[in-house]
């Protein structure tokens, strides 16, 4: 019983995802009045009708009380979480007790993050985003929604099963020599060769990394690239997983079914097995829905001809931190090259028109600031003060528009609005800088987003040669890395499942599990938790491991709740276990800094983590205020011990783990 819905303020459904149970529930409620066999639109209609009163009440509350709903809970423990981003209302529902309010809120934020990575600054204009999320063409819409649904499902699966997505930090494969070799290989051989090739079509490889399932084997960034934010890296891992789902958990029926339905047109060849298992996936209760599914698939079938070229990169929008500041959502191309099942090479390139995006962002920011000042009642010169004065912008924007060329419709529109804006703001007869200018600020922003959309989101016309690394070049890159890793392939696949194991910690009797996270680099270390029947870990197999896993998962959500209220140390005696959680700060030399106040956040604040909203970056910034001129690092440690172990011993263990884990020399595993 799960659902995620995005709706516009006018209760138009911009996206929805439901699991079969929820769909069944909706259809059962609607079934009485609705004739069957109406196909996909019918379900969309019913979901929109049922949610409409909630959506409309939401906007009424915002308009008239200035307050909005954040959640509902029913007596049978169905949870509804609502969050409004600009004019898009996100509603996440759970009715099977598997997700709590925090999980649902996190899902909403992750969905928003995914949309940002896919649509970039278009998300800054609700109007454009609405059109982007709900294309007029039903086929196109179905395809887009399927893609988003699949990404969401991939994320949910990872969050429920992968520790790195539980704590939202990247996990590395612990094999120092191989990692080093690979990084060197990426740097000296691969990236160098790619960037010096003429077939790169003016693209430049900025980052290259190798994923073994969700774990990072090697990561290389070219010298002139900015750091890839953890948030973006995690989002890219979700996308890579979605394209080439790893079947690590073959004996776990859930993910298999999950992965089958919608990859057919993202994988190079539509594989027949996928389609078979799709049939298997639809449970008998949905017999009556078969026509719908068939229809949806038929429409996809038509879309698959011609199948999208696998060498076509995905456009992704990632954050760049450069000398003159932070630029969110800058366009990149993402090449996801499968090496073997479970092992993927990912290349991120800078596209040649990158600087247009940076300019658009600067202008957007300037108009947003201006709008904010004007709406706060500032007028005249007070309103125009800022890092980039409006007069600066005036000349720059003039040049920018000239460079775009007035040929096409979008830049002509921008030109018109800009002229009107100038007339009002600067001309004698104009209104000058006051509240009347606000709508024109908004209009300018929309136009800029439109330009951005046209430059980076719309595929180039059919006649153009697609802008990308040539297929041959991609193939060569793929082969190079395959050759390099050929001997290691099987080892890596096993290693990714048993990265480190508790067997390696004989000096910690009674320690069952731990997770250690370096929040400054967004990396984590934890023993593998294998819960499938086939593999036996130290935790035993099956139910016992599953039980411990569920404890670890709930511990993480508990500690987040306390952290949100300002508690950075938590110990819990729960059943037969003793849990500890510590968050602390160190400077670069490893000196432990004094614990400071941690901001207290409201219950409905953004989820604590690094994927959707980087809490720790903000925490570090907050903490660093009192540690000027020092590089501050933030660490977290979670441990699970047997309850019978004396607390002193447990705390000693924690201390040892905390001091040892990030020191390669002392860790037997590094």
């Amino acid at each position: 019983m799960k659902c995620l819905l995005i709706a516009s303020e006018s209760a138009e459904v911009l996206f929805h995802w439901t699991d079969p149970e929820f769909q069944q529930n909706i259809q059962a409620q609607y079934g009485a009045s609705q004739e069957e066999g109406q196909g996909l639109p019918a379900f969309e209609d019913s979901i929109s009708t049922l949610f409409a009163p909630i959506i409309i009440s939401c906007s009424t509350m915002v308009d008239r009380l200035g307050d909005s709903y954040t959640s509902f809970t029913t007596e049978n423990n169905h949870i509804y979480v609502l969050h409004q981003f600009d004019e898009c209302l996100y509603i996440a529902v759970n009715g099977d007790g598997e997700e709590g309010e925090d999980d649902l809120r996190r899902k909403i934020y992750v969905m928003k993050k995914i949309i940002e990575v896919l649509f970039g600054m278009v998300t800054l204009s609700s109007n454009l985003l609405r059109r982007e999320l709900r294309p007029q063409d039903t086929e196109q819409r179905a395809r887009l929604w399927k893609h988003l649904q699949s990404l969401l499902e991939t994320y949910s699966h990872l969050r429920e099963n992968d520790q790195s997505f539980l704590v939202e930090a990247v996990e590395r494969l612990i094999h120092p020599t191989l990692c080093e070799q690979c990084i060197e290989f990426l740097e000296r051989r691969l990236v160098q060769q790619l960037n010096s090739s003429v077939e790169r079509a003016r693209e430049e490889v900025l980052h290259a990394f190798i994923l073994v399932h969700t774990k990072l084997l090697a990561f290389y960034s070219s010298r002139n690239a900015s750091t890839l934010a953890t948030s973006d890296l995690l989002a890219l891992i979700i996308m890579a997983q979605n394209m080439y789902p790893s079947n690590t958990d073959l004996d776990d029926p859930g993910p298999e079914v999950r992965n089958t339905n919608n990859h057919s047109f993202y994988t190079p060849e539509p594989s027949p097995t996928d389609r078979d298992s799709n049939k298997r996936g639809s449970t008998p209760v949905f017999e009556f829905m078969d026509p719908d599914i068939q229809m949806a698939e038929d429409s996809l079938q038509t879309l698959e001809v011609p199948p999208p070229d696998p060498s076509t990169p995905r456009r992704v929008f990632l954050e760049i931190s450069s000398k003159d500041g932070l630029y969110p959502m800058m366009p990149h191309s993402m090449y996801c090259l499968p090496l073997w099942p479970g092992i993927t090479l990912v290349l991120l390139t800078k596209i040649p028109t990158n600087n247009v995006a940076a300019s658009v962002y600067k202008y957007l920011e300037a108009f947003a600031k201006l709008e904010k000042r004007l709406s706060e009642g500032q007028e005249g010169s007070a309103a125009t003060r800022g890092t980039l004065t409006i007069h600066d912008i005036r000349s720059k924007l003039d040049k920018f528009i000239k460079a775009l060329g007035p040929s096409d419709l979008q830049s002509a529109q921008l030109q018109n609005v800009w002229t009107e804006f100038k007339n009002r703001a600067f001309a004698r007869g104009g209104t000058g800088f006051n509240k009347d200018l606000i709508p024109w600020c908004k209009n300018m922003k929309t136009q800029l987003c439109g330009i951005y959309r046209q430059c980076f989101l719309i595929d180039s016309g059919p006649g153009d040669i697609p802008q990308r690394l040539s297929p041959g070049l991609q193939e060569r890159a793929q082969t190079m890395v395959q050759e390099k890793l050929m001997d290691w392939k099987d080892f890596l696949l096993v290693k990714s499942k048993r990265n480190i194991t508790m067997v390696s910690y004989p000096d910690f009797p009674g320690l069952i599990h731990f997770i250690c996270v370096d929040r400054s680099t967004g990396q984590m270390i934890a023993p593998s938790l294998n819960i499938t029947e086939r593999t036996t870990s130290e935790l035993g197999k099956g139910p016992v491991a599953q039980f411990i896993k569920s404890k670890v998962w709930s511990l993480v959500s508990t500690t987040r709740r306390f952290l949100r209220k300002g508690y950075s140390t938590v110990t819990l005696r729960d059943g037969d276990f003793y849990f500890c959680y510590f968050l602390w700060f160190e400077n670069e030399t490893g000196y432990k800094l004094e614990a400071g106040d941690i901001p207290i956040l409201p219950d409905d604040s953004a989820p604590i983590g690094m994927l959707a909203w980087d809490y720790y970056r903000k925490l570090l910034r907050y903490y660093s205020k009192n540690h000027q001129g020092e590089v501050v690092k933030c660490y977290e440690l979670l441990t699970v011990h047997l309850g019978v172990i004396p607390t002193e011993i447990i705390l000693q263990h924690c201390r040892q783990l905390a001091s040892k884990l990030w020191e390669p020399s002392r860790n037997p595993l590094l």
């Binding site: 049922l50 809970t73 300002g566 432990k592 106040d597």
Partner: protein, 618 residues
């Protein structure tokens, strides 16, 4: 008042059945809205939107909405039939507490008014609005933030009170119960519980009427009517749920023993209250109707406890009590299970604790005085058993408490009595307020509400509240009996309680603690209990967070949480929750795991420090 506003920002009852057509104005459906001065269009907006969204969500999930959160407020919701209740609080208040508050409020209303639908049929909105307002202000008023977090009963500070007085109070109640029409009672002093035989829930409900009559009594223009006993006695009709009633009726009172003291008038009642033994008791316990989940622990604990004491009280055969494994031989100086107490099952612990207010033996001069969960519980009892037996043939007998002080006290009491009853003539007493609806049934599928009578006997700040069968009021003999049997003792008790200084809360000490007894719903704390006790206090904040977490995680036993400013330790068992914070000490720490960190010594410190407050965490 400021506190009141902060705690509950909105409350309303909306009747959807009044607004069905398109043209019906929303205001038709608003039965009550707090704060009443809210502009009507805002009332309509809130009621309309929340009720509308509530209905929509409950249709989607096929279950009523329980909690509705906004960014700045959270609402506990109750939906039943066409009625929609919403109680809004600021977001800092723990959700469980808000929900509890709303439930209490609704139950309180039903307790005094019967079913909602019928009350609104029989009374005007204005009348009932005044009642909602009164209940609301009662539930919110005058306690500290900690009390609100746990929704606990306000009790007198038992550490300040001579245990003998608590015993005395319990005995008064027991004596009243000898009249078969009396179901159970409690004694309250200045709005605080001295002793009660009822479940915390019921006690809490009864206290509303007490505070109400108290305020009325303060006003000179109170309506004067006198009861046959011509004292500050009043009564009102109340409505009990089936399970509450069954629970009250289940305490076994040995009819055979009582029969010669009180003539039987209640034919049908006899069936349920025939003589019982402990084994009898157990069987009826198990098959008596299912109590609400919140009530079950009380059922388990209270009733056997009563049977325990009553048996010992009235049993003519000492062998019986000696044979009882839970009941030590009457004169045994040290009950055999005193050490095992805390390892016992929770139900036994509850059993002992549930009577902590009443059983404080000081028969022998050397008895140690604990403030709760006293080991000598049954000793005290047996003293009474020995001493009081001779006098109990008639209810009217003024109890002669053994011990030095009783002689003086007696005469003193008599004087008081004269003055009292003289004054009482002019005082308020609403007797025989005709029950608004007899045998009120909310609707078929719901448990019926059974009308009973709440009888109050006030002696200045002290009130004896008894739940009695409705025809008790017409039974002059019984009334007089109850009145006279308790009057002198009440006077005495009042005089003593009055002299006790409200007392600075116990030694402050370098620590703060709060100990919540889930069974009795009582709180012991050394945090200054002034109303409005700052909710931003780190201890209160941590406690509220941990309490919520304990509520949500059944298996959680203890927790230490630390922010930059404070480390708080919380521990709980089935019967209690305890929170502890140590002041001072070096709070400078890096947050890195360190076994020398003072935060991790909190459990042992708590164990040590709290012993002297009668909190045993071992």
């Amino acid at each position: 008042m400021a506190e009141l506003i902060r705690r509950c920002s909105n409350f309303f009852l909306y009747d959807g059945s009044k607004v069905t057509g398109e043209g019906d104005p929303t205001r038709e459906g608003i039965c009550y809205f707090y704060p009443e001065e809210t502009p009507i269009d805002k009332q309509e907006l809130l009621c309309g939107q929340l009720a509308g969204v509530g209905r929509c969500v409950s249709e989607l999930s096929s279950s009523p909405v329980r909690i509705l959160r906004l960014r700045r407020n959270k609402y506990a919701i109750h939906m039943k039939d066409d009625f929609f209740w919403a109680l809004g609080c600021s977001v800092e208040v723990p959700t469980v507490s808000v929900c509890e508050l709303l439930d209490q409020l609704i139950k309180l209303f039903c307790f005094y008014n019967g079913s909602i639908r019928q009350s609104y049929q029989l009374n005007s909105r204005e009348t009932l609005a005044a009642r909602w307002a009164r209940y609301l202000s009662h539930l919110q008023s005058g306690s500290s933030e900690l009390h609100h977090i746990f929704s606990c009963l306000r009790t007198i500070d038992s550490t300040n009170v001579d245990p003998l007085l608590l015993l005395k109070a319990a005995l008064i109640l027991q004596a009243c119960q000898r009249c078969p029409l009396v179901l159970a009672g409690c004694i309250l002093f200045r709005g605080r519980v001295v002793s009660t035989q009822m479940s915390p829930e019921l006690t809490m409900k009864v206290m509303v009427h007490e505070s109400e009559t108290y305020t009325k009594a303060q006003k000179p223009n109170g309506l004067s009517s006198t009861s046959s006993s011509s004292a500050a006695v009043c009564s009102t009709t109340v409505f009990l749920t089936m399970s509450e009633l069954q629970y009250l009726q289940s305490p076994p009172v040995d009819k055979d023993l009582r029969s010669h003291s009180t003539p039987h008038k209640d034919g049908p009642l006899k069936k349920t209250r025939l003589s019982r033994t402990l084994s009898d008791m157990a069987s009826t316990e198990s098959d008596s109707s299912d109590p609400g989940p919140s009530q079950s622990p009380q059922k388990m604990s209270f009733s056997p406890c009563l049977s325990e004491s009553d048996n010992s009280l009235f049993s003519p055969a000492p062998s019986q009590s000696a044979a009882d494994p839970l009941h030590p031989p009457p004169q045994s100086p040290e009950p055999p299970f005193s050490n095992g107490k805390h390892s016992h099952e929770a139900e036994e612990e509850a059993l002992e604790q549930s009577y902590y207010q009443s059983f404080h033996s000081n028969g022998d001069g050397d008895s140690q005085i604990h403030n709760k969960g006293d080991d000598s519980v049954f000793e005290g009892n047996s003293h009474f058993n020995g001493g009081g037996r001779e006098g109990d043939t008639a209810c009217g007998t003024v109890f002669d408490f053994r011990g030095g002080e009783s002689g003086n006290e007696e005469s003193h009491d008599d004087k008081e009595l004269v003055g009292d009853s003289g004054r009482a003539q002019g005082q308020t007493a609403e007797v025989g307020d005709p029950p608004p609806c007899y045998g009120a049934f909310d609707n078929p599928e719901e448990s019926p509400l059974i009308p009973m009578t709440l009888y109050l006997h006030r002696v200045k700040g002290l009130v004896l509240a008894l739940l009695v069968e409705p025809h008790f009021l017409s039974d002059t003999a019984s009334m007089e009996e109850v009145y006279h049997s308790s009057l002198a003792s009440l006077n005495g008790l009042e005089a003593h309680l009055r002299t006790i200084s409200p007392g600075a809360p116990g030694a402050q000490g370098p620590y703060i603690f709060a100990h919540f007894d889930c069974i009795q719903s009582t709180l012991t704390t050394n945090l200054s209990g002034r109303p409005g006790g700052a909710p931003e206090h780190p201890f209160v904040r941590a406690t509220s967070l941990l309490h919520l977490h304990f509520c949500n995680t059944e298996t959680l036993q203890e927790a230490i949480i630390r922010s930059a400013g404070a480390a708080v330790y919380g521990t709980r068992s089935v019967a209690q929750e305890t929170y502890f914070q140590q002041h001072g000490g070096s709070l400078r720490n890096s947050g890195i795991p360190n076994h020398q960190d003072s935060a991790f010594s909190l459990p042992s410190k708590a164990r040590h420090r709290l012993l002297k407050h009668g909190v045993n965490l071992l």
